[in-house]
């Protein structure tokens, strides 16, 4: 298999995605006493092109998805998909963190579970915690929240302040 280095990988993505990349940069880190350098990629793509980006990565190697981190910043719901590519050799692995901004009122994005089945757990978690609709997600039940949890409450949205009110009522 051909390993790409982070710079080549980023220019490969830039060449194929062109203006669909909102923002991209390389992160340089060092490790060990010898301060060996390695790079990670941060990428922000348009919502419509996210699935194409993952398909593009799949032409290189089967990407490993770690998790989706969600953030409701009050205006948009941002998702950061943490991927990694090229495992198997020292310093060859590259972390690719792909950010997508979604409309806060009605956030939705295409599911990638048909491409990477392992993404199901994390998509289901983001669905129930942030109310993001994943188009094509086969399993719609709650994973961490109870089945009878209110359908219009999303615990990790900004307006949620925790249990206080409920606890007061109970006691």
């Amino acid at each position: 298999m051909d390993f790409l280095n982070a710079k080549d990988l980023l220019s490969f993505l830039q060449k194929n995605l062109k203006e669909n990349i909102v923002e991209s940069h390389l992160e340089t880190r060092t490790a060990g006493i010898k301060k060996e350098e390695f790079h990670n990629i941060w990428l922000e793509v348009k919502r419509e092109k996210f699935r194409d980006t993952v398909e593009l990565l799949m032409t290189l190697q089967y990407p490993h998805i770690a998790i989706i981190a969600g953030n409701d910043n009050g205006e948009t719901v941002d998702l950061v998909y943490l991927f990694s590519l090229f495992y198997g050799e020292k310093f060859k692995e590259i972390s690719i963190n792909i950010k997508v901004s979604l409309d806060r009122e009605k956030p939705s994005i295409e599911s990638i579970t048909d491409l990477i089945p392992g993404a199901q757990t994390t998509e289901r978690e983001i669905k129930e915690m942030f109310g993001v609709e994943f188009i094509g997600l086969p399993e719609m039940r709650n994973i961490f929240l109870p089945e009878d949890f209110p359908k219009d409450v999303f615990p990790f949205r900004k307006e949620q302040k925790g249990l206080d009110e409920l606890v007061q009522k109970e006691s």
């Binding site: 770690a66 950061v80 943490l82 020292k90 972390s95 994390t122």
Partner: protein
């Protein structure tokens, strides 16, 4: 005669280990047809709690995500914050971090081996393994003051130094584990009855491991050479040549079964001993914290802006933390991911077509908590007859199977 399937819910709560978990099995005769997972009973909202805490307070919260990997989460979290804020860690602290993390791996893998033996009905092996494990816990207590929840990690370094007086005791413990390796190998890898119960049981193929994004020993036992310490080394790991351990190193082949997962973990105990030895031999001098005054450190973090990802290879697989700092007291986002989260889906192919008596060992083989084996209800879908099995009875089934094979 019609084929009827039975529904068996297992779980959710058992107080012995972390992560209560429900399994709904669909079985036909003695064979599992399908599995449905229902986690969530132990969701404590830790990331939510962190919204009202500053970075230093979150380290201690992260430490309490898991009682067994209580070095892994603070390690990954501190790395994420350091990446986000651009803080450099002194070399001596990097080495101490790795020593603690590897000592933890030794105790976690041996703990798992003991539990696996118990699931198979070898209680004497449980006692033997946990006796072997005690040595490393004693050493951790000497180095950090605690047997678990070490409180060692801090943004920018570690909180306690390893002094000259500690070194002889560490070496003594490492020698002990070099000797113990032979015992563990004899008991787990050369014993015919363990091989009979675990070979060709709970198989996960290489493709499944990739597609389901498995991590850690679970993925490596299926032949995926994935290990953060090798792929994207950090701290002291970057100064060593670490190779991901796959079962073919020992047995020459990769089957992806429970036995392969035992091989990987037993070999990793020995790998950890070598890593710690390297760290002690090459321990650099110098500071252990980039900023010893916590108030000052918090002041720096309050002004920091940026995103960071921290990865660490925990005993069970990759731990990954994502932190976003936004010039405020508390981090804007903190997302923690434990390895079992990714390995959840691995159970689906592993449990397919397995026997009910093999459920305990297959479920335990990814090293989650087996604690969920609390209560089993057998429902005959034709007659609606209910039968309740307890954890003890399920383990009894497993033990009986071992006895049957040995006869």
């Amino acid at each position: 005669m019609s084929i009827s399937t039975y529904k068996i819910p297992i779980g959710p709560i058992h107080p012995s280990l972390a992560e209560p978990m429900t399994f709904n099995f669909e079985i036909s005769g003695e064979r599992i047809q399908s599995v449905d997972l229902a986690p969530g009973d132990n969701h404590r909202g830790i990331e939510f709690m962190a919204r009202n805490r500053n970075v230093v307070q979150i380290i201690y919260l992260a430490e309490r995500i898991c009682g067994i990997c209580s070095a892994s989460h603070p390690f990954a979290f501190c790395r994420a914050v350091e990446n986000a804020a651009g803080i450099e860690v002194p070399p001596r602290a990097e080495y101490i971090r790795v020593i603690i993390a590897e000592l933890e791996r030794i105790h976690s893998h041996i703990l798992w081996a003991g539990i696996a033996a118990e699931e198979l009905g070898f209680n004497s092996v449980l006692y033997l393994s946990w006796k072997v494990r005690e040595e490393v816990l004693d050493l951790l207590e000497m180095l950090t003051g605690n047997r678990i929840n070490y409180g060692m990690y801090m943004v920018g370094g570690v909180r306690r130094d390893i002094t000259e007086e500690h070194i002889p005791q560490i070496r003594k413990t490492l020698e002990y584990y070099k000797d113990a390796y032979q015992t563990l190998e004899d008991v787990f890898l050369k014993d015919p009855s363990i091989a009979l119960r675990t070979k060709n049981v709970g198989i996960m193929t290489y493709e499944d491991a990739l597609h389901l994004a498995s991590v850690g020993p679970t993925a490596r036992a299926s032949g995926v050479k994935k290990d953060v310490r090798q792929d994207q080394p950090y701290s002291a790991y970057a100064d060593m040549d670490i190779k991901a351990i796959t079962p073919d190193i020992y047995s020459g082949e990769v089957n992806g079964d429970v036995f392969d997962r035992i091989i990987v973990r037993i070999l990793e105990v020995f790998q950890s001993v070598q890593i710690i030895e390297h760290c002690i031999d090459n321990l650099p001098d110098g500071e252990i914290l980039s900023e010893p005054k916590i108030i000052k450190l918090l002041g720096v973090l309050k002004k920091a802006k940026g995103e960071g990802v921290g990865r660490h290879e925990a005993p069970r697989g990759e731990v990954i933390h994502y932190v976003k700092l936004n010039e405020s007291e508390n981090p804007e986002v903190w997302k923690a991911r434990a390895p079992t989260y990714n390995n959840l889906m691995s159970w689906l192919p592993m449990l397919q077509r397995q026997e009910v008596a093999d459920i305990p060992i297959v479920v335990a083989s990814i090293d989650p908590c087996i604690g969920c084996m609390d209560r089993v209800t057998l429902v005959d879908s034709n007659t609606s007859k209910e039968q309740v099995l307890t954890r003890e009875e399920l383990i009894k089934l497993s033990i009986e199977k071992t006895r049957r094979i040995l006869r």
